[in-house]
Point group: C2
Chain length 352, copies 2
């Protein structure tokens, strides 16, 4: 074991503050990474404040962060993919059982025994796993991703969660050249959805309630912007979409978007509204439409996504902050006051 | 024009009674059919009683019936598929615009200008179309199906609606040898779902609230029966289904069935509950599951279904009644007191 610097929350109501956490020594299969940037995902905030208590209560102290990019400093003797000096990424998962049908099908995110990057029972040390708001992490090489060398690292970090969350369902539902894709909501997930859909060759429309977001949506790659509160505009596009990516976690009228789908169209939820959605059966029957959900992606697909982003020069639009501003960033996140993801420059942790 | 015998309702509260209706003379493309049997679909009752007033108000007099089987008596000069003496079937559609993207893709049921077999504006005569509770009908040959000669005709009639409604989504979602299929509800649609899924080579389970239906479900081809009110039984099957066909039109807890699906599993609704369904996003996210709807099928697929039923000797289980018992049959339908579909023997109309 060695000590790493980190920021942790001592309780659901405490701010994140500087601390020291134990990390395990590298085993044969492990990669030790010096963390350079870590994105701030809304899940970090939910966990820190114990807002998912009913499904996954938070154990304190809590060190969040699962959009990690850094440089390899040490590898175990059995590690083949990495050597010291390599760039490396870590997303939402750091382990799984490797043997269940989901692991064998490369969808480790659905493994019933998956270990999440933070707030998950730690198989090596006592207690729970600690995430990426830290200067160092040790991870089994199967859960470490190769990072293309041509990309801005601060903007790469959010690809590990926001990137794969939007990439995976679009691949699964066949988004490609000529597909008409709608993206509902233009936040951390939505802006990645726009960039990726555009790179897949799709015709991309953003649905938003805010006319003020139009210019930025077009800059990010959207071909058009539909103001969802404008009934006439919505009517013009009814029945015309092949695929819609719904990134809204708040309660909203899902039927308004389902009726935007054409025959055999699919709407995939990547946000999870707390209350059940009121879904009209008629909207699904007329058009053979489908509604589905998607949850991050497996390791193989996450690597595919990073390689795709490298080839197409895609990163998240980030506001880089020092870790000392993380509590302020959380408050701004609650107001959607960020374009479009915070990325913590972990060099700032050296001064703590 | 010529006159045909029929049973019609004069208003939403009147019983069906004997009447005479006009049928057009065969045009070049038409097939005139002597109707031998007509199934009773729940839609007939909804329409006769104007229960779908908000979406499709009923025009009276109303002659329902869209599960029609009979014998060709006359064909137009351009008709190539049929000759007098052939068996023939007619389902829910008698015309469409032939030019829209849905028609060109052989999914005429989604054509925005489709003409339904009854209560739809008639392009040839004034007023609305009259359905199969009649001794004769004239239909464009594109909307007339070939009927395999080896099947019991009374049991063929319901294939034209209940058969294709359940066949189409199972084909679309890839039900085949080894697929684990669940059928929710064992009525007119459900019993066809069981027979067809079994013939596709699937492992078939019926979900029902009625332990009394177990024996019959097994006789129809189910491998097992799951009592949906038994939490323990349900838990044993959680996450194990590839496809679930939900035939329940009443309000019910859809999430209980969504969680029965395994990874990438699909649940298709073929019943349409009036109120929106309360769908938990979490059930869809964890497992990348999907929820969809399906509406009858196109003409090409309906023919494929009939040919499949001919090859596998599949018909609906019917209770054959004379047309004079149709009002009584409607009352029994409301109590689900039929195994599993009424089929009207149209020879009974000769005495009217």
């Amino acid at each position: 074991m060695y000590n790493a610097k980190a920021y942790s929350a001592a309780s659901a109501t405490a701010p994140l503050a500087s601390t020291t956490i134990p990390r395990r020594d590298t085993t044969d299969r492990d990669v030790q990474i010096e963390i350079l940037y870590c994105g701030i995902c809304h899940s970090d905030l939910h966990t820190v404040r114990n807002e998912w208590e009913s499904v996954m209560p938070t154990v304190y102290p809590c060190v969040p962060g699962h959009e990690i990019v850094g440089r390899v400093v040490k590898v175990g003797s059995a590690v083949t993919k990495f050597k010291p000096g390599d760039l490396a990424g870590v997303g939402c998962l750091v382990d799984s059982d490797h043997t269940c049908p989901n692991c064998r099908a490369d969808v480790e995110q659905l493994c019933p025994n998956a270990t999440f990057t933070y707030n998950s029972p730690d198989k090596h040390l006592e207690g729970i796993t600690y995430g990426g708001y830290s200067d160092s992490i040790v991870v089994d090489e199967h859960f470490v991703l190769r990072v293309p060398a041509n990309l801005d690292l601060a903007g790469v970090a959010p690809l590990l969660c926001a990137g794969i969350t939007t990439y995976s369902p679009m691949r699964r539902w066949g988004v490609t050249t000529g597909t008409k894709v709608g993206v509902v909501g233009l936040g951390g997930l939505g802006h990645m959805g726009v960039k990726l859909a555009r790179a897949f060759g799709a015709h991309v429309a953003v649905f938003t309630t805010s006319p003020g977001k139009k210019e930025d949506a077009l800059r990010l790659g959207a071909h058009e912007v539909i103001i969802s509160t404008n009934a006439e505009e919505m009517q013009q596009h009814a029945g015309s979409f092949d695929f819609i990516l719904d990134t809204i976690a708040a309660e909203h009228d899902i039927n308004a978007y389902i009726t935007m789908l054409g025959r055999d169209g699919n709407l995939t939820l990547v946000g999870a509204p707390e209350k059940p959605l009121a879904v009209s059966a008629f909207g699904l029957l007329f058009g053979r439409r489908s509604l589905s959900g998607s949850l991050i992606g497996g390791l193989k697909e996450t690597q595919e996504m990073l390689d795709f982003c490298g080839a197409h020069n895609i990163t998240a639009d980030v506001e880089v902050i020092p870790i000392q501003k993380v509590n302020e960033a959380y408050e701004r996140l609650l107001k959607s006051d960020v374009k479009y993801r915070f990325s913590i420059d972990m060099a700032s942790l050296k001064s703590e």
